[in-house]
Amino acid sequence: MEEKAKDIITDEQQEYIINIGPQHPSTHGVMRLVVSLKGEFVLNVEPHIGYIHRGIEKMCESLTYPQIIHLTDRMDYLSAHINNEAVCLAVEKALEVDIPDRVKVIRTLMSELTRIQSHELFWASYGMDLGGQTCYFYGLRDREMVLDIFEETTGGRMIVSYNCPGGVMYDLHPNFRKRVKEFIKHFRKVLPEYDDILTNNVIFHGRTVGIGPLPLKEAIAYGITGPSGRASGFSCDVRKHEPYSAYDRVKFNEVLFTEGDSYHRYLARVEEMRESMDIIEQLIDNIPEGPYAVKMKPVIKLPEGEYYQRVETARGELGVFIISDGNKLPYRVKFRTPNFANLSVLNHLVKGFKIADLIAIFGSLDFVIPDIDR
């Protein structure tokens, strides 16, 4: 009896420690958060990652450049095409190849479709994280249309593997233009429904407005890029500042907010879907004719040196850093993945909020776990 009393006394000083993950509905993958609680309030969150670390950077050191591309699909599987494009751009920049206009436009179109489907999945899963289960199905329903477009042209639904150094693997499918237009028409119609069901919902506002605010200074210091950073006012859109592919010939707005809370991180993504549709509409009717790929040498050897290429994936800035020693295999490949950088801010954001807010904040940062683990 006495011992028990002692236990209780010592227990009082302990924090209430809860594991969220690795098998948890709202970590979107295998990630473990060790959460210290005081009542319902979060004192500290410690992410434990590495459950699906595959050593992609190490694997890249034994693969040729065209072979690396298919590995990048597996990092941020929701921006698979953009990841592919990043490696291709780095290789092309190193070899100083001139890329045909058609390839540039195709890549831009595909990137924007990728961004839309990624944000749709974000919308879907964010709704589900907050308990609105129906959002998930509406989001997936519309995402399927984009995936159909992908499958028709590339043969893959999510893991497209469509890029190769010098261009794309196959030409666009003849139906591509028609399907994209159908999708845009449909999507413009359902986006107001998205707003009705989630964005303007009073409960949703209560759950997200003012939750996990991230000021601009901290966003920059923590290296938060992508829609999460732009919600804080960090103008970090690589498409705007270092245009690649065909982004220099389209007009679009960089979605910027200043509040930086969960709601605006969410809103930034929803608005980006609209911007992406604008970009697609500008390009879809004037895809230039021409070859869909340049003939490259069968064995691609990068000249000795270091190559860094930034692209804007759906989650932020992806940096591909290749150190070449002149061989056909890279000497070192580093992927500066957006989610890995965004993860660092999680603990800072959730301190002092409730456990339900932890889910809201975690969801609003839109993590894809394989992108963190690589």
Binding site: I49, G50, H53, G55, E57, K58, K93, E218, I220, A221, Y222, G223, F234, S235, C236, H241, G305, E306, Y307, Y308, R310, E317, G319, F321, I323, R332, K334, R336, F340, A341, L343, S344, V345, H348, D373
Partner: protein, 150 residues
């Protein structure tokens, strides 16, 4: 700020530095002892204002271990690459820049995890992905003992 003045400006901070114009960025090679002070100068100085740490890459050069920093300025939109390396493979150690950029925290932990590079005065230097008994897989002399063959 253009590229040439950036290189010159960094030269003016410390004339011993080895600065070269790369294909893409201005590249600065720093001895490990000067790394932290140079980084904080680049961060604070109004002329450079590298407030965004893009990427930290640990590299195994065969006999040396090195770290490459990509710094970016959100105001001037320019990038500088800092390089530093050490020949000590047993206890490679650099100064942590996580007090200058919070973003460095995870990147440095990753470099420690995969290459065994230590960062002095890092607040929380633990293995990130792998458990503590694992080797350092991104080193070139790493031997994997449990390769599964099909």
């Amino acid at each position: 700020m253009d590229k040439i003045p950036l290189a010159e400006f960094i030269k003016s901070l410390d004339s011993d530095l080895e600065i070269k114009e790369g294909k893409q960025f201005t590249e600065v090679t720093v001895p490990p002892s000067k790394l932290h002070s140079l980084a904080s100068q680049l961060r604070e100085n109004d002329e450079t204002l590298f407030d965004f740490l893009d990427c930290i890459t640990g590299v195994d050069y065969g006999h040396d271990l090195g770290v490459i920093y990509h710094l970016y300025s959100t105001k001037f939109r320019h990038t500088v690459v800092l390089r530093t390396r050490t020949a000590d493979r047993e206890h490679p150690q650099f100064d942590s820049v996580s007090d200058i950029w919070e973003a460095a925290n995870l990147h440095e932990r990753e470099a420690f995890d995969l290459l065994g590079i230590k960062f002095a005065s890092h607040p929380d230097l633990r293995r990130l992905f792998l458990n503590s008994s694992w080797g350092f897989p991104l080193r070139k002399d790493y031997v994997d003992n449990d390769i599964i063959t099909w």
